[in-house]
Symmetry: C2
C-alpha cells in the first residue's frame, strides 16, 4: 500500500501497521490518541472531530479519551473498520486519500511530526499477567530455580498449563521511563541482607493488550480468544535476580519495581501475515486448549541492545516463535475459571529466548546465572567489546522489532522499548 | 458518642465507626458515596452539595464520584476532618447536630435506610496484593505445600520477608456477589485432568484499602506507611485447592476466579483504639522493617459461618492478632524497590487462623487438607450438625467482625462479607 505521505523505507510504521499510541506535544500537552505513520503521528481526536469516521457505527467519544482503554474495549469489528478507513485516507489514488492530501488545513491539524510527539502509557493497565511460555528460557532457567533440574522437574505442569503469574500493573511504564535500581532483600553467606540489587536483569518479552472484555464467570473459548486481543507490544520485564532467589516462590519485589512497554500497540490485524505454527510437541491437551487455528502464534524477531557511554552493543536476537502456548491458549486458560478480562489488561509471554547463545533474552541466561560474564560487541566497525554479568547503572536497554511483509515493501514495527538504569534512590 | 439518630445497640455502625461505601437505591440508581450510621446510610454527595463540608479545604468533587478512589487518595488529614464533621453532625447536643436533626428536608434527602441501599464495589481496584503473614495458617499449610515440612522449610524467608504475591484485581467483588465454582486443571492418579473444581475453599482474611498514593521509585518508610491506609475490609480469598496443588508455584487460576470484600471500608482512625502488639519473636529485622509503633497490628475477631438450606453453622473464630508482620511492614516491603501505590489498591493478610481447631480460617486447615471432614454445629439450639471437607454448591459463606470500644458503648463492624457458591458455568 503506497501512501501519498512519504514513508521512509526503513520506517516501522507502514500502512500495513498503523499502531495506536497516546501522545502529547509541547505545543499541546493534552494527551490524545494517535496512529503512527512513517515519521508522523496522525491525531485521531482531530479526525474524529472532523467527522472522518462518521459512516462507521461506534461510540466516537472513545477516540477523544486520554487512554485507549475505552476504544480497545469496542472490539475488533470496530478497530477493523477504523483501520480500513485510515488506510483509505492515507493511500494514494483513493478518493478519501485526496481528501486529506489536498486539504492543507486539515493536514496541519491532524499530522504531527513523530519527533515532536511525547509518548505516554497508552492504556491504564487494569491487570498485568506474566506468562512463562518460552521453551528455551524455561529450559535455561530450570537450573536457576532448582540446581541440576530440567523444566518439568521444576514445573511438572509446564506442558499442560500455560504457566503464568499475576504481575504488578501500577509499575507498568511506557518506553523511555528510567528505572531505578531497586532495593530489597537477598541472601549472602546463608544470611538475609537488605540492600541494593546487585543482579539487575532485563527480559525480552512480547505482550498483548486486551480489547474486548469478558464477564466474570465467563470462560472464553480458545477459538474465540483472539477476538479479545486489541494489539501487541514489546515488553521488558525488569528483574532483580538476587531478590528472586530469596523471596517466596511467586515473583514479587524481584519484578514489581518496573515493567516497560513499547509506546505503540500494533493492531491484531497488522500481525495476521506473520502467523506461524508453534513447535510441534506430541502431548495431549485438554479440550479447552485445543485450538483450531494451527498457525496460532506469530513470528516476531526482537532485537535487544545495550547502550553504554553512547556506544550500542548487540545483546540478543530473540524470537516469539518459541512460545509453547499461543496467546489464545493463555487467554482461554486465564479465563477458564471465570476470571474477567478488562480492556487494557496486559499479558506477557515470559522471555522469548531462542536455542542458541546469541538468542538468549536475559543476562540470567547469557551469563549462566551470573557466573560467566557475557561479552558483547559494539555495532558497526569499531570492534569495541564490553563484558557484563548483569546491568550496571547508566546502561540503556533497548528492544526493537521489525517485520517485513512478503513483498518486501512494508514494515511492521513497534517503535523502541527502552529504559535506562538509574542508581538506587 | 451518643447520636440523635437512633443507633441500635448491636449495630456495626456507631459514631466511632463511620465506614465508607458506595451505594445506590431502586429509586435512584446512581452510584454514590455514603457512610454507614446505625440502620442508615448518610449520602455524602448530598451533604457535599449542601455545603456541609465548606469549611474544610479539600477537593469536594471527590465526594461526588462513583467510587472512593479519588477521595481515598486525598490522604488521612482530609479523612480525619470529614470524620470529625460527620461526628459533629450526628452527635447529640452539638450545634451542627441540630442543623441536620431539625432539618426535615435535608434529613429526607441525605439519610437512606440501610435496607434500601444496594452496595457496590467501593473502589476500582488497581492492584490486589495478597500476603501470607498469618502465623498459624502458615504453619498449618506448610505440610500441604510440602508434605512433612514446617513453614521455614517451605518458605525459608518466612520470618524475614512479609511474603506476598500479586493477585487479580478484575475479580475482586463486593459482598453478596455469587461465585461460580471454577473450572480448571488438577491432577488425578498422577495425570492432569481438566474439569470442575472439587476442593473449593474460602479464606478468612483482613485487608487494607490504600489511600494516599506513592510515586514510582519511592520507598515508603515503615513509620510513615500507616499514613497510606485509607481503611480496612474483610476479605474472602476463594481458593481452588485442587488447582493450587497442580499449577505452578504462584497462585493463579486457583485464586483469580473471585475475591470478595465487605461493602464498608472502616476508616483507619476507627480502628485506632484496637491496636495490639504482634507476637514477640526474637529475630533480627532489616532497618526498613523496624517499626517504632509497638502496637503495630489490630485485634479484630472475624467470625466465619456457613449457611446451608437456611440454617447457619459456626465455622471458625479467627483473629487478626496472629499477623507476624504489620500492614505498615507490608507496605514498606511492597514499596521498598519503588513499586508505586495507587488509591484503591488492596492488600490482604492471608488467612487469619488462630492456634486452635475452632480458629482455623479455611477448610484446607479445618479438614486437614481435605482428608478429615469437619463437623460444624448449627447456631441456636437445634443441635443440627453438618459435615464438610470443602464447599458445596449452594453454600453461603459469611464473615462478620464486630469490636466494641472499652466503654462497651460503641461497635465498630464491617457489615457482612458474604458469597454464595453457584454451580460451575
Amino acid at each position: 500500500m503506497a501512501s501519498w505521505l512519504p514513508i521512509p523505507i526503513d520506517s516501522d510504521f507502514s500502512l500495513q501497521n498503523l499502531p495506536y499510541g497516546v501522545f502529547s506535544t509541547d505545543a499541546d500537552p493534552t494527551r490524545r490518541i494517535g496512529v503512527a505513520v512513517g515519521d508522523h503521528v496522525l491525531d485521531l481526536k482531530v479526525l474524529t472531530r472532523e467527522q472522518v469516521f462518521k459512516d462507521i457505527k461506534f461510540d466516537d467519544s472513545t477516540l477523544q479519551e486520554k487512554t485507549l482503554n475505552a476504544y480497545a474495549g469496542l472490539g475488533q469489528h470496530v478497530h477493523s473498520q477504523i483501520r480500513k478507513k485510515l488506510q483509505e485516507l492515507l493511500r494514494d489514488n483513493t478518493l478519501l486519500g485526496h481528501v486529506l492530501r489536498d486539504n492543507h488545513d486539515l493536514r496541519q491539524k491532524c499530522l504531527v511530526s513523530m519527533q515532536s510527539a511525547i509518548m505516554h502509557l497508552p492504556v491504564t493497565v487494569g491487570d498485568f499477567t506474566d506468562f512463562f511460555v518460552g521453551l528455551h528460557h524455561a529450559n535455561n532457567c530450570a537450573g536457576f530455580l532448582k540446581p541440576g533440574a530440567d523444566i518439568t522437574q521444576v514445573l511438572p505442569s509446564f506442558w499442560d498449563i500455560p504457566s503464568g503469574f499475576h504481575g504488578r500493573s501500577s509499575s507498568v511504564v511506557v518506553s523511555d521511563t528510567p528505572i531505578h535500581r531497586p532495593k530489597g532483600q537477598y541472601r549472602e553467606g546463608g544470611k538475609p541482607v537488605s540492600g541494593t540489587c546487585r543482579d539487575l536483569d532485563f527480559e525480552v518479552e512480547f505482550g498483548v493488550v486486551i480489547g474486548q472484555p469478558s464477564q466474570m464467570g465467563e470462560a472464553v473459548p480458545v477459538d474465540q480468544a483472539e477476538g479479545h486481543i486489541f494489539g501487541f507490544v514489546l515488553l521488558n520485564d525488569w528483574s532483580a535476580r538476587d531478590f528472586q532467589k530469596w523471596e517466596p516462590s511467586a515473583p514479587f519485589t524481584c519484578k514489581n519495581f518496573g515493567t516497560s512497554i513499547s509506546p505503540w500497540i500494533v493492531p491484531f490485524e497488522a500481525l495476521e501475515p506473520f502467523r506461524v505454527s508453534p513447535i510441534k510437541v506430541d502431548r495431549p491437551l485438554p479440550d479447552y486448549l485445543m485450538q483450531k487455528e494451527t498457525k496460532s502464534i506469530f513470528e516476531v524477531p526482537i532485537r535487544a541492545t545495550l547502550e553504554v557511554d553512547h556506544t550500542r552493543y548487540a545483546v540478543a536476537e530473540c524470537n516469539t516463535k518459541f512460545m509453547v502456548f499461543s496467546f489464545a491458549q493463555m487467554i482461554a486458560h486465564h479465563t477458564r475459571g471465570g476470571c474477567p478480562l478488562r480492556p487494557g489488561d496486559i499479558m506477557g509471554t515470559g522471555t522469548m529466548s531462542g536455542p542458541t547463545k546469541s538468542e538468549e533474552g536475559c543476562f540470567l541466561e547469557l551469563s549462566r546465572y551470573g557466573e560467566q560474564p557475557c561479552e558483547m560487541s559494539a555495532e558497526g566497525s569499531s570492534g569495541e567489546r564490553i563484558r557484563r554479568t548483569y546491568l550496571e547503572d547508566g546502561d540503556i536497554v533497548e528492544f526493537a522489532a521489525q517485520i517485513r511483509t512478503k513483498d518486501g515493501l512494508e514494515n511492521v514495527g513497534f517503535g523502541i522499548c527502552r529504559g535506562e538504569v538509574l542508581p538506587a534512590n
